[in-house]
Symmetry: C2
Subunit: 426 residues, 2 copies
């Protein structure tokens, strides 16, 4: 069964007939996504994956009243009228447990990270003390009750949720998981993403393209994109433009969670991906989206497998991956946040959009005088790979807008490279 | 030999005596960094690494005049007064090479990605044509010269630099490398980063901490941070607070590019990391930095190995890694951009800094009405791991400033989690 794209009015009169608005297409994709099963992995292997359950601490943090400075544990009332001499009754280091309570007029030498002995209610830092002799110290300054003491449970109570499910396990989360006693972590299984590139014109990266041929850039790029989105990406190679060859290449991958096929999805007579997918039992949810670059974009499913027929133009491939496939892969893994951040940026140059589609313009974003500014990258269009590789964000111009002025604030979708780049002109 | 931190005036009169300003400390670190040797790796293994040489294309891109649409290749002059009927003399698909030139009054059916035949100077998209019979087509609209044709070499000329060294090999760069024929890529060797955690109080993640003990959060976090920065990170385990134990743990790692030791670097009597490093031949460049969190921060070298003694407080550990260690690891790998982006953000709440040091305040940054806004995360201080794990950026308040007002624009250092997070209140 084949469902055509909805043709009802979308509110954006300029969208070409039969094309689904980007927002509706993304909604349609996400509505088809189910959560993957969970698995327990060792903490070190959980890095960059999605946490599948709320994580609680089994202990208070800190687990005891903890000295935040090297110095002396004292009763703050004893030193209110500093300088004051106190009797030093002992010492406690990190990893030790104090056996002596601090009585009136007494102090205990204490090291950062050590438990504060009973009786003491503050730590005076060593720089504000002066040893008198082996058994006495002068506190040169008063200290407020609670000063330089991290109270037991002040950060976390035993049983508190310390990390919520759906977050990425970044190094900061690793520290929390380790401290809370989680040597194994429940995460979503990685989605298996099979990647097929189609086209008679495609040759391998290591080949010298003959007349009319180009090298396979989309395969390696899609594998890298899928892996960066948490996928277990598997190459299916390159299929020529013959329907039976495409079907044969896809058939072993029908157990994948996601099939990505690049090329062969425009309306041309030799665009055989849709017929091949239909033959394999695909049900299509849409076949055209009002996005630029990338209008010929097919989405459907074969059984439980989500299938994306991505345009063969290399920039279109990458943009449609970021806009539709990545959020789907993140949702499968239970991510709370599915898309990259969208931020307001001031355009340094005007941007045109004569497509009637939601346009994604490659730009370099940087911070300047406290605001984010964006300069479009010179691009020759949706095949201009090098322009896309120079961008650290895409400015999004709505389907109903033909241009945006310099000085205007526009929305930018940050790319994965944004954190690695300073956005300065190249 | 031990060099004390410079004591000359730094322009920031409030910086505590003997502490190096953050900018000078970073300069000092980077001045000690040498570039790592390069190695050639397969394209798939190069993802997320640093490109070590400028990359040129061996071919023009596109390699031929390429149809950007399905339609008819025509001589634009023939259809200036459209509608116009043309003789269809053949067809060319992607992967084929046209053998017939297009003469006056002629057209060739052409598919996206196919070479435009000689004689034709434009492609009219199929939607604006109407077949007359088997051998003729009516062009319903005129087409400008060059329309829907991506000219050979218009994106890249053979020999052009398509990627410059020092950039991260992200998926967009992978597409360029593949298209330009680079199945192997020259990258910097990964820096070997050995990680030792010290402290009598530290127990393993899987253990139940006894009285006065805490679990080892810093080890797993530092390993994850080093790997995310491109390092080949190797755990040295946990050493107790005995100098000979610390030395024994470090000795097998003296061939590493970088040693990271957490804990044991404040001025306390049981902070044995500096003596241990001295015994192993360390030359120190600084031992205190005016940073908060993280003042006790030791940097030096043992032979060619860079050594960082990081504070044991878990947030201090992570912040000092991001501010000092990550840029060093990136510079070793030849990165053009060493630090995460610093962006201007509007503070939604006031921020205080009574430390006299450059303060790094955990915040959540999000885009709101076209500007970036930042709300501080509730934190109990430099041991509050869970606060740090909720942040997606650190607001940086200079050492000379005691506070910043709500509404003020401050500088934020984006964290690795920024792209995974929407910054909405948790």
């Amino acid at each position: 069964m084949r469902l055509d794209a909805p043709r009802e009015s979308t509110g954006a009169a300029t969208i070409p007939f039969g094309m689904l608005p980007v927002e509706k297409a993304l909604e349609t994709v996400l509505a088809e996504v189910s959560s993957l099963p969970h698995e327990d992995v060792a903490l070190a292997d959980a890095v960059s994956r999605l946490l599948a359950e709320d994580v609680r601490s089994d202990i208070d943090l800190p687990p005891f009243d903890r000295a935040a400075m090297d110095g002396y544990a004292v009763r703050s009332g004893d030193v209110a009228a500093a300088p004051a001499a106190l009797e030093v009754i002992g010492e406690v280091r990190a990893g030790q447990w104090p056996d002596l309570p601090v009585g009136p007029g007494q102090a205990v030498r204490i090291m950062t990270g050590a438990p504060v002995p009973p009786g003491a209610d503050a730590v005076q830092q060593v720089e504000k003390t002066q040893p008198l002799d082996e058994f006495r110290v002068t506190l040169l300054a008063a200290v407020a009750p609670g000063a330089n003491v991290a109270l037991r449970g002040s950060e976390v109570r035993a049983g508190d949720v310390v990390l919520t499910r759906g977050r990425v396990i970044d190094p900061a989360a690793v520290a929390v998981l380790a401290s809370a006693g989680h040597s194994r972590v429940r995460v979503a299984r990685r989605p298996v993403v099979a990647v097929l590139v189609t086209g008679d014109e495609i040759v391998d990266v290591s080949a010298a393209p003959g007349p009319g041929q180009i090298r396979n850039g989309n395969g390696p790029a899609l594998l890298a994109l899928a892996r960066a989105a948490g996928g277990d990406a598997r190459p299916l190679g390159v299929a020529p433009d013959r329907q039976e060859a495409i079907e044969a290449a896809l058939r072993p991958a029908l157990a994948a969670d996601v099939l990505l096929v690049s090329g062969g999805v425009s309306a041309g007579d030799y665009d055989l991906v849709e017929p091949a997918l239909l033959d394999l039992g695909a049900r299509f949810l849409f076949t055209k989206v009002a996005i630029r670059p990338g209008a010929p974009l097919v989405f459907g499913r074969i059984g439980k497998t989500l299938v994306f027929g991505l345009p063969g133009n290399p920039v279109s491939t990458q943009v449609t991956f970021d806009v539709f496939v990545r959020p789907a892969l993140r949702k499968m893994q239970g991510a709370r946040v599915l898309a990259r951040p969208r931020v307001g940026v001031e355009l340094l140059e005007p941007v045109h959009n004569r497509s009637g589609r939601t346009s994604h313009v490659p730009v370099r974003v940087r911070s300047e005088d406290g605001r984010l500014v964006a300069r479009p990258v010179r691009s020759m269009g949706s095949a201009d790979l090098t322009a896309h590789a120079r961008a650290n964000a895409l400015v999004v111009i709505g389907a109903g807008r033909s241009h945006a002025e310099a000085g205007e604030t526009a929305e930018a979708l940050l790319l994965g490279s944004f954190l690695e780049d300073d956005g300065a002109p190249l």
